[in-house]
């Protein structure tokens, strides 16, 4: 008798907390929602800031390239002397690591700062005898820059054609895809100027964007490019040797 009564009583005892829910129990859905919002919000911000490391697009671009070097797309380009060729061909045939900058020849603002930095860099290249391993390459994103404008700009910058070359992209679609691949955003600014993100881009002869350096860190760019060219040379020779063997 006692046992059966107990067993009958038991279910009712178990249900009492459910029939009379505490304040804590009632707030459970809200607390769960808060937790969900917290997790989703943190995950979104974590994703947008590249794991809490960057807030600006430019820093994000530099970080992405440093972690995943990017293969550049093909584009038809011309040097300031009018020589027309494909970008990959231009990079490979020179076989030096290129420090690429983007310019437009009418620029008065950031390009002239970049220009002086590049002039100094050109001097450093000579001093350290790195001309065989590195070169400077300025690419114009302005369609109105033809070979004539580029060579006038080169003269103004006192560029030595051996170490510092200038280039334009001939096709507008290819130019845009090249800029996209580099992550360069060109914004029209008042007075017919452009504003654009300026930096030193280290590009290997096999057409890979390896690293991006801020325009106030030319020395770091030079160091890195020099180190990279020393890594590249034996590899390129090996590839050449392999190609020779394959041909034989």
């Amino acid at each position: 008798m006692m046992n059966s009564q107990n067993s009958r009583n038991n279910p009712s005892q178990q249900t009492t907390p459910e029939t009379r829910p505490d304040a804590e129990l009632r707030s459970a859905p809200t607390l769960a929602t808060l937790l969900l919002i917290f997790l989703m919000g943190t995950a979104a911000i974590y994703h947008a800031t590249d794991s809490f490391r960057v807030v600006s697009t430019e820093d994000g671009r530099r970080l992405t390239i440093a972690e995943h070097p990017r293969q550049l797309p093909e584009a038809s380009v011309s040097y300031a002397n009018g020589q027309q060729l494909q970008l990959s061909q231009a990079l490979r045939s020179d076989s030096r690591v290129a420090i690429v900058t983007f310019i437009y020849t009418r620029c008065n603002a950031i390009c002239s700062i970049l220009g002086t930095e590049l002039q100094q860099m050109q001097g450093h290249l000579r001093q350290r005898g790195l001309q065989q391993q590195l070169r400077l390459l300025s690419i114009s994103f302005d369609d109105s820059d033809g070979p004539a404008e580029l060579s006038a700009y080169a003269k103004r910058m006192q560029a030595n054609p051996q170490e510092w070359q200038f280039m334009r992209v001939n096709n507008a679609v290819q130019r845009q895809s090249l800029l996209d691949s580099f992550g360069i955003v060109v914004v029209p600014a008042p007075l017919g100027e452009f504003q654009h993100n300026a930096a030193f881009h280290v590009v290997t002869p096999d057409g890979k964007l390896a690293r991006i350096f801020d325009y106030d860190k030319p020395d770091a760019a030079l160091e890195y490019a020099a180190a990279l060219s020393q890594q590249q040379t034996p590899l390129a020779q090996k590839q050449d040797a392999a190609a020779h063997q394959a041909a034989l």
Partner: protein
């Protein structure tokens, strides 16, 4: 309202029509507004939230909200948002997210990010309508105070940054946006005070006692 009643317009129609017009306008003027950081962050984003807010008003006034099926759903949603804390918590995260320059700029490049921006802000506005009504002034002061201070600090950082935070926007535009963010945070705080002060003495205190 009286005019609406005279014209035999149902009370839900006005906010619904306004929200639709606003959303249509925002979709059409998308590229125009996104050309400048100031208009993108301080006009488009708040208007999207306003759109959601109006839609929520239209929904609660419409017959749809009294349908048994939706009323169960609404009760469940309200259980997840006691005292409005969930909606206000979401306000902090969603506004913080869209104040990250990189996140804002991704909308220009990725259609997916653009869709996420529209939907998250409309949803936020819709949720906030109920959340603000359910929360008492102490909870509001906590969350809106946080929101205002975060916005003001972001505004100061935007004004101070020597470099461009978004590659697609000019440096001047960025510092104007910074000033705009500081102004917006002050405006939100001032509006909240104006809305609260007369009601503070007689309305908020009983609300407090019932919720505790």
């Amino acid at each position: 309202m009286k005019l609406a009643r005279l014209l035999h317009i149902r009370s839900a129609t006005m906010p619904f029509a306004t929200a639709c017009l606003l959303l249509g306008g925002l979709l059409i003027s998308k590229e125009l507004l996104e050309r400048s950081m100031l208009w993108h962050m301080l006009v488009q984003l708040p208007l999207l939230a306003l759109c959601g807010y109006l839609l929520a008003i239209a929904f609660t006034r419409s017959a749809m909200s009294r349908h048994p099926f939706t009323s169960i759903g609404l009760r469940r949603l309200r259980a997840c948002d006691q005292n409005g804390v969930s909606g206000l918590f979401a306000l902090l995260f969603i506004s913080a997210y869209w104040m990250i320059p990189k996140a804002l700029e991704e909308c220009l490049r990725l259609p997916m990010a653009e869709f996420l921006k529209f939907s998250s802000l409309i949803l936020l506005g819709a949720v906030l309508r109920g959340s603000l009504a359910r929360s008492n002034w102490i909870i509001q002061i906590f969350f809106l105070g946080n929101f205002c201070s975060m916005t003001a600090i972001a505004g100061l950082l935007y004004q101070d940054a020597p470099q461009r935070l978004c590659n697609a926007y000019l440096l001047d535009d960025q510092s104007y946006t910074g000033m705009g963010l500081v102004t917006a945070s002050l405006a939100v705080a001032a509006c909240w005070c104006l809305a609260q002060l007369p009601a503070n003495t007689d309305k908020a205190s009983p609300q407090l006692s019932t919720s505790s």
